[in-house]
């Protein structure tokens, strides 16, 4: 909301330059960052926090300025003396749950016309369009006091009755600016005999609007239930100046001053006579309340020494009444002050946080494991390893589109989804990262031939929200037929972090190449998959050529990490190295051959693949006894044992 500086000056002396004032107000929480000069005046747009509806008014800001600059708040508008002619009646049926206070007055013989120059100028300064003197007055008073006002054409109110009700939903309502609304359930409405005439605090109705023919008006100020105001505003998607302040809570004692000021302006600018008493329908007396604050606790929380004289001075300047140390009486316009901590904040912010010393907490530092703990050192080491493998890290959106799911062969009907996506491209929570990864591969293929990307992020799975699960996965991809390179990267990762693993062929994945994919497991736990991507999948993502990749369940991985190292001395006895050439039948996997060899003896220290042709495979086997020298005879026996085991698999020795 726009505030002209000259208007503020009607209520408080401002002697410091505006820039200093803006800085000081910002420091105490009323952020003033945008302003412009206009005809020698400064118009600024403060950011009012939701706890301070009193700052949504010229008078409220003036009161804060008076407190922070220690200057005097000028007298409120002098009370007008007028004669009351109780000739006209209105029958008001209040509902105090909806409108806790309604202050009304009827004025007859008014002349509706253009506002005078000074009023039009104010209305334009605050970004509104002057309409006529009566409507302009309601906006003017709203700005001064932050109390919403509405003016009806009294003669158009059927039956001269106003009934406060809740909407049932579906009612039609035409606002005074000619817009048709279908009301939601639970909005505050005011009816006359059979029609909705007002939708407070959002908008008034066209059927009772003031026009140039209007002779008699009903003016009222209402205090609406903030929650209902907010819900109705949200449901309708409309926020007016009145509803904005009502949602935050207007001062229940502000209506009388607002009606007084409005009435005096009407009599001055539109003439007429007061035709009713000032009717004040309220659920109760809105009395101030007291909050106690102890000086000890104040200093204990703020961490500073402060004199009780300063404390009292600060609170008094803010318009609070202080007795003793401290019994604080809070006026109704400060509904944000109800507990001791609220008052401590008032003292702290006005004293000025930039005047506080800075200290560090002296308490104990715990190293005990905590719930939700996460090992970032491990994460950083894993990422550094992949960096060394030439992989670049990406961060992609968790929300993905239906199209991607379909391309991955995932059923959108069994994927977590948000009800209010910003667009169809970001509607589902990704159950896999591979889709984003492939899109990233495609993005880069025009500029790079060797692309290596990965992400450590969440998979969101579960067919329904009731079974939703979040798991961290580590997924990467690189261009080319690079099965063995990827396998090397993953094995290095698993070995470096002490995770025992097995890699076996896998043809079950819809995303993997059926002949070039493997499943990685550790005991009975699934660790993930690696291999080449299915060519059909790559085609659906518009990727040319081959892509190889991996995906590791990072949560399972971290649960298996073992970084404990136990030193083993180098054997004093020499190792014996022997090469064997084998003919391995096509259906026997190299992994089975390896397993057969390893299982033969504990004296086998290493097995390396030296050479692999179509016909022959040469292995280099290292024998090592750490307790003694191995004799030729022992080695030959071991070799014979190995060959015998291999023969059972159908593997022949070529020599």
């Amino acid at each position: 909301m726009l505030i002209p500086l000259s208007w503020l000056k009607e209520y408080v002396d401002i002697k410091i330059p505006f820039k200093d004032l803006a800085e000081r107000l910002s420091e105490v929480g009323l952020t003033v960052e945008t302003w412009h000069e206009q005809d020698g005046d400064i118009i600024f747009d403060p950011e009012v926090t939701p706890n301070r509806p009193d700052w949504m008014s010229v008078y409220g800001i003036a009161r804060e300025i008076a407190a922070v600059t220690n200057s005097k708040l000028k007298n409120q508008n002098a009370k007008l003396q007028f004669k009351i002619n109780k000739s006209l009646k209105i029958d008001i049926k209040q509902n105090y749950d909806l409108i806790s206070r309604m202050t009304s007055v009827i004025i007859k013989d008014v002349k509706v016309k253009q506002s005078p120059e000074w009023l039009q100028k104010r209305i334009k300064q605050i970004g509104l369009r002057p309409i006529n003197n009566l409507v302009d007055i309601t906006n003017y008073v709203l700005w001064v006091y932050g109390s919403p006002l509405h003016v009806f054409d009294y003669d158009k109110i059927r039956g001269h009755q106003l009934i406060v009700e809740k909407s049932a939903g579906g009612e039609a309502f035409r606002s005074l600016d000619g817009i048709d609304y279908h009301l939601p359930n639970g909005a505050i409405i005011i009816k006359d005999l059979g029609r909705i005439v007002d939708l407070p605090p959002i908008k008034g109705g066209q059927n009772t609007a003031v026009s140039t023919e209007t002779k008699t008006v009903l003016l009222h100020s209402v205090v609406c239930n903030p929650i209902l105001s907010r819900r109705a505003s949200q449901a309708l998607g409309v926020r007016s100046d009145s509803s904005a302040v009502s949602e935050r809570g207007v001062d229940p004692n502000g209506t009388v001053a607002a009606v007084d000021l409005a009435l005096s302006l009407v009599l001055e600018l539109a003439g007429g006579q007061v035709a009713s008493e000032i009717m004040d329908h309220k659920t109760q007396e809105f009395a101030p309340w007291t909050v106690e604050m102890s000086h000890d606790r104040l200093e204990k929380i703020l961490g500073i020494k402060i004199s009780s004289r300063e404390v009292k001075d600060i609170l008094t300047r803010l318009g609070l009444e202080v007795a003793g140390e401290y019994k604080v009486t809070v006026p109704t316009f400060r509904d944000d002050l109800h507990i001791e901590e609220d008052l401590i904040e008032e003292v702290g912010r006005i004293h000025g946080y930039n005047n506080f010393p800075k200290t560090l907490p002296a308490g104990p530092v715990s190293t005990a494991p905590v719930a939700y703990a996460r090992d970032f050192d491990l994460e950083f080491r894993v990422k550094s390893l992949l960096k060394g493998d030439g992989y670049s890290e990406i961060y992609t959106y968790s929300l993905v589109g239906e199209r991607q799911l379909v391309d991955l062969g995932i059923d959108p009907g069994k994927t977590l989804r948000v009800d209010n996506p910003i667009s169809r491209d970001f509607e589902y929570l990704r159950p896999r990262m591979i889709g984003n990864l492939l899109e990233a591969m495609k993005l880069n293929q025009a500029n790079f031939s060797d692309i290596r990307l990965y992400e450590l992020g969440k998979h969101y799975t579960g067919p329904t929200i009731g079974k939703a699960k979040e798991e961290y996965w580590l997924s990467g991809a690189q261009t080319g037929e690079k099965f063995y390179e990827v396998k090397g990267i993953i094995e290095t990762l698993l070995i470096q972090f002490g995770v025992p693993y097995e890699i076996k062929p896998d043809n079950t994945s819809a995303q993997g190449h059926p002949g070039r994919s493997a499943v990685i497991s550790s005991g009975d736990k699934l660790l993930g998959y690696l291999g080449e991507m299915h060519p059909a999948l790559l085609a659906r993502f518009g990727i040319k050529g081959h892509v190889s990749g991996f995906t590791i369940n990072y949560d399972t991985f971290t649960s298996l990490v073992n970084l404990n190292k136990k030193y083993r001395p180098i054997s004093k006895f020499p190792a014996v190295v022997q090469d064997v050439s084998l003919i391995i039948p096509e259906k026997v996997l190299y992994g089975d051959v390896l397993e057969a060899i390893w299982s033969t003896s504990k004296l086998i220290a290493d097995v390396q693949l030296l050479d692999k042709h179509e016909q022959s495979t040469t292995l280099r086997i290292t024998f090592q006894d750490t307790t003694k020298n191995l004799t030729d005879r022992e080695v030959n026996e071991l070799r014979a044992k190995i060959l015998k085991k291999l023969a059972e698999l159908g593997v022949k020795n070529k020599d």
Binding site: E27, V28, G29, T49, P50, P226, I227, E247, K300, I301, L302, I339, E341, E345, G348, R349, Y353, N354, F356, P357, T359, L360, P361, P364, V370, A371, Y372, A373, R374, D375, F376, F380, K383, K387, G390, S392, E393, I394, Y395, Y397, S398, L399, L416, V418, D419, N420, P421, I422, L429, N436, A440, N444, R452, L453, K458, T464, I465, G466, A468, E470
Partner: protein, 347 residues
């Protein structure tokens, strides 16, 4: 016999001294000292046929000849090596300005690099890192941090609500967390005070996408609960963290408003664009808001079943994405979710 030995010696020494490289020297060695057909070897093989008195003298002389040849070979070998080394500047010269052969080099994402710095600062101050769910209940995300339903403070955090079809969950009950403050609710519930934890993570808000807004972004939250914690402790902590993360910055504080804290305080840093002189980015103020914080509100303790009179503490939250932008002079939030290697390779 002795004359022959002298001839061989002279001939061999002359050849050796004329030799130009190691292979030539090896040929000469074989010619004279070869095991089967060396000229000297053959002569020595004849020694046993000589009369005894002559054999001793000739034998000794033959050994001297052999030794001379061997020593000369060694000396020449060294000389050749030395000469060769003296010339490698020319003979083995390469163009050192030709392009390098690079090892494969990947890149860490700026968010990871920034988080690493954040992590180190927190670790130094004794904070443990925690992470938690992104699919969160309204209760943990809002209610428990004193942002009840219908609180206007929720307006700034429009939420994505989870589709509840085929479940027994009410619509509106689950959302994508809008702030890492859900971990305040969870830490207070599950971790016994005193504790110091911080929690980075992804947050979601219904928002239009532009250079400074996104519907997914990263935050981190610091939480400290102990006895006798003061506002000055909070200010000192924030000052230390901000100056560690943004070396050379200045820090100012202002009053703020957050549901979960009372008092609430915002920290500002010197504008990184203009250095404080004033520019459009900082609206000519020279300062920009960077962090929200405050003393934990009694209602937050109560929601977690903790006696607010027994403990004091503070919490603060800051944009990790925003920090990554500041630290890398990135002017558009969308860069952080762009997987173009031409971008990634810059970090």
């Amino acid at each position: 016999m002795q004359d022959k030995l002298i001839d061989i010696k002279n001939e061999a020494v002359a050849q050796i001294l004329a030799a130009k490289d190691a292979r030539e020297l090896e040929d000469i060695r074989v010619e004279y000292l070869g095991k089967s057909a060396g000229k000297l070897t053959l002569l020595i093989k004849k020694l046993p046929g000589l009369p005894p008195e002559e054999k001793a003298i000739v034998g000794q002389f033959a050994n001297e000849v052999k030794q001379t040849i061997e020593e000369t070979l060694q000396a020449q070998k060294k000389a050749i090596q030395k000469e060769k080394e003296a010339n490698i500047a020319e003979t083995e010269k390469i163009d050192v300005t030709l392009p390098a052969v690079f090892p494969p080099e990947g890149h860490l994402h700026p968010i990871t690099k920034t988080l690493k710095e954040v992590y180190e600062v927190f670790k130094f101050m004794g904070y443990q890192m925690i992470t938690g769910p992104e699919i969160e209940t309204d209760e943990y995300n809002f209610t428990r941090v004193n942002m009840p339903k219908d609180a206007p403070s929720r307006d700034a955090q429009a939420s994505f609500y989870l589709d509840t079809r085929n479940s027994k969950i009410y619509p509106g009950e689950y959302l994508l967390r809008t702030q890492t403050s859900n971990m305040q609710s969870r830490a207070l519930e599950r971790i016994r005070p005193p504790f110091r934890v911080f929690s980075p993570g992804k947050c979601f808000r219904v928002d239009d996408v532009d250079a400074s807004h996104g519907f997914e972004f990263w935050q981190f939250e610091g939480i400290l609960i102990d006895k006798n914690i003061t506002v000055t402790n909070l200010l000192g902590t924030l000052d230390f963290i901000l100056k560690s993360l943004l070396p050379g910055t200045e820090v100012r504080f202002k009053s703020g408003h957050f549901g979960f804290t009372e008092p609430s305080i915002e920290a500002m840093i010197r504008c990184t664009i203009c250095g404080g002189r004033g520019c459009p980015y900082c609206k000519n103020l020279g300062w920009s808001e960077i962090l929200g914080s405050g003393m934990t509100h009694p209602n937050v303790y109560k929601a977690a079943g903790i006696d607010p009179r027994g403990w004091t503490g503070f919490a603060f939250g800051m944009g990790l994405s925003r920090l990554a932008l500041l630290k890398n002079q990135i002017d558009d939030l969308r860069v952080l979710t762009n997987s173009d290697l031409r971008i990634l390779k810059q970090f």
